[in-house]
């Protein structure tokens, strides 16, 4: 009973209950969406977008506007600037993106550290799930319902394009539009999730779950469901740790997500090693090519 009491202690607090609800809703969507972000190798783009929207967050804080509004505006400006900077073939897309993002983070920090700015830089960077408002919860619920619906509707085109874009085009799917829809979903998810995890830690909920379940699931739908489950579990672990150890809630959840990713990767490695050990030894070893 003591253990159960210990575990449900955080839920007795309304603040922690709301934080958990926010993180569970955002995590369910982002954990599933993350499968496509990792599959389409968009992790760097997702990181760039989440860091680059910092000026939007700071401007919203300065103007007393909702964080979601600042995040959405910041994401739009960041996406446009990153697209513009990455088009310069002389420096290459990665370098252009890095310069644009560094510039945007620098601008955000400059604005946030101005004397007239409210002392909120820390929560904008690292999130504040314990401070979620009713509006944040509504935004998270909308993200879960609308984003989940969009992911379900896009499931077949995303699968066909990820497997073979030219073949998908032959079947009438437009790969460019499909990927654009994925980017729009990513921007919406980042704009909402940034309240709980901040501009620097939001990537954890997008990338941690798919890395954790990768190689342990048989098809995209299962990988998405398992990713959502991992994100919710990490939210529970993070809030528990934060409550009992008095640690920062956003950072605790982000670390739980990263720990899940590390655990998933380690399990994959140990399973592979076990398979190699179980293989019968042959006196005439013939090298074989295996697709991985």
């Amino acid at each position: 009973m003591e253990v159960i009491d210990f575990l449900i202690d955080p839920l007795r607090s309304g603040i922690d209950r709301r934080a958990l609800l926010e993180l569970a809703m955002v995590g369910s969507l982002c954990g599933a969406l993350g499968f496509w972000i990792v599959t389409e190798r968009l992790a760097y783009g997702a990181e760039s977008l989440s860091h680059g929207l910092l000026p939007g967050l700071v401007l919203a804080a300065l103007a007393g506007a909702p964080v979601l509004l600042g995040a959405a505006g910041g994401a739009l400006v960041a996406a446009a600037l990153i697209a513009l900077a990455s088009r310069d073939a002389r420096v290459g897309p990665d370098t252009g993106t890095a310069i644009a993002v560094t510039g945007l983070v620098g601008l955000g920090a400059l604005l946030a550290l101005a004397p007239e700015a409210p002392q909120r830089l820390e929560e904008l960077l690292f999130g504040d799930p314990l401070g979620v408002t009713d509006g944040d919860l509504v935004a998270a619920a909308l993200l879960l319902v609308l984003g989940g619906g969009a992911l379900a509707a896009l499931h077949r085109p995303l699968t066909a394009v990820a497997f073979d874009a030219a073949g998908a085009a032959g079947a009438g799917i437009r790969p460019g539009l499909t990927r654009l829809a994925l980017l729009v979903l990513l921007a919406a998810a980042v704009a909402v999730a940034v309240q709980g995890l901040g501009a620097l830690l939001v990537l954890a909920v997008l990338i941690g779950p798919p890395v954790a379940v990768r190689a342990h699931t048989g098809n995209p739908a299962r990988a998405m469901a398992a990713g959502a489950g991992v994100a919710v579990a990490a939210a529970i672990v993070g809030i528990e740790v934060s409550f009992h150890a008095h640690s920062a809630a956003g950072a605790s959840v982000a670390l739980a997500l990263c720990a899940a990713a590390a655990l998933g990767a380690a399990l994959r490695r140990s399973r592979r090693a076990a398979r190699v050990r179980a293989r019968p030894r042959s006196p005439h070893r013939v090298p074989t090519a295996q697709a991985r």
Binding site: F163, G170, A171, G172, T217, G218, P220, A291
Partner: protein, 243 residues
């Protein structure tokens, strides 16, 4: 028609017309524009000059190394992707779609491998799964990108049998290939090397001059008039393609 990537022209002066039910062998070296031509015909790449008209949406059989081998889909999932051509992409596949995919997998000899992951199939089995996807699509035009490259003899025989059936049923086939000798069995031959060098029946196109212009130093003419090509791949090695 002309096509380019990021402003750099890769294919120019291409102009041909194929009647329904005809088979075309598209010959050319690596980088000669075969895949680019297919991308334009699929609508994946806009031509920078000219236009293309295809009656119906063409089905595509990619080279297996252009697909994601690490992506978690089974042979049945791949075949079912062909039903996306029916529209309704936002809904899960219907029972009839799954049935069509399973029946087609049986037709290409993959009934027992339907639930195996695509990346775990052999090269020939992968090619047959991709062929099944194109067959499920039931398109009047099929584009096949080196469909016999790297496949085992049993798969090659089966794939060639399906080609024959498709031709008999009035489908138009465009097959990209390096195999100069097998090109003689097609109705038409299109020679590309960054531009169109010849188009017509095999007897009038597969002459020494045209093949030399198409393949350059990659062509070796053997005694008796047989021709083979030596392909230079991106990683710097070469291998002889003498099927």
């Amino acid at each position: 028609m002309a096509a380019s990537y990021d402003g750099a022209p890769v294919l120019e002066d291409v102009s041909f017309e194929v009647a329904p039910g005809r088979s075309v062998c598209v010959l050319g070296p690596n980088g000669g524009g075969k895949t680019t031509l297919f991308r334009v015909l699929l609508g994946e790449l806009e031509p920078v000059a000219g236009r293309v008209e295809v009656s119906g949406r063409p089905a595509h059989v990619a080279q297996t190394d252009r697909t994601r081998l690490d992506f978690p889909v089974t042979a049945l999932d791949v075949a079912t992707m062909g039903t996306l051509a029916n529209g309704r992409w936002w809904l899960p596949p219907r029972r009839a779609d799954r049935h069509a995919a399973r029946t087609t997998l049986e037709h290409v000899g993959l009934a027992d491998q339907a639930d195996i992951r695509f990346g775990e199939l052999s090269g020939g089995q992968r090619q047959r799964a991709l062929l099944a996807r194109a067959l499920v699509q039931d398109s009047p035009v099929l584009l096949l990108d080196e469909p016999l490259s790297g496949v085992d003899p049993a798969s090659a025989t089966l794939i060639e049998r399906v080609f024959g059936e498709l031709r008999e049923s009035g489908r138009t086939l465009l097959v990209a290939s390096h195999d100069v000798e097998s090109a003689r069995s097609y109705d038409l031959v299109l020679c590309l090397n960054r531009r169109q060098l010849a188009f017509g029946d095999p007897a009038s196109t597969l002459d020494r001059e045209t093949l030399k212009a198409t393949y350059g130093h990659e062509l070796i003419l053997l005694e008796g008039g047989r021709a083979v090509t030596v392909q230079h791949h991106e990683h710097g090695h070469a291998h002889e393609d003498e099927r």
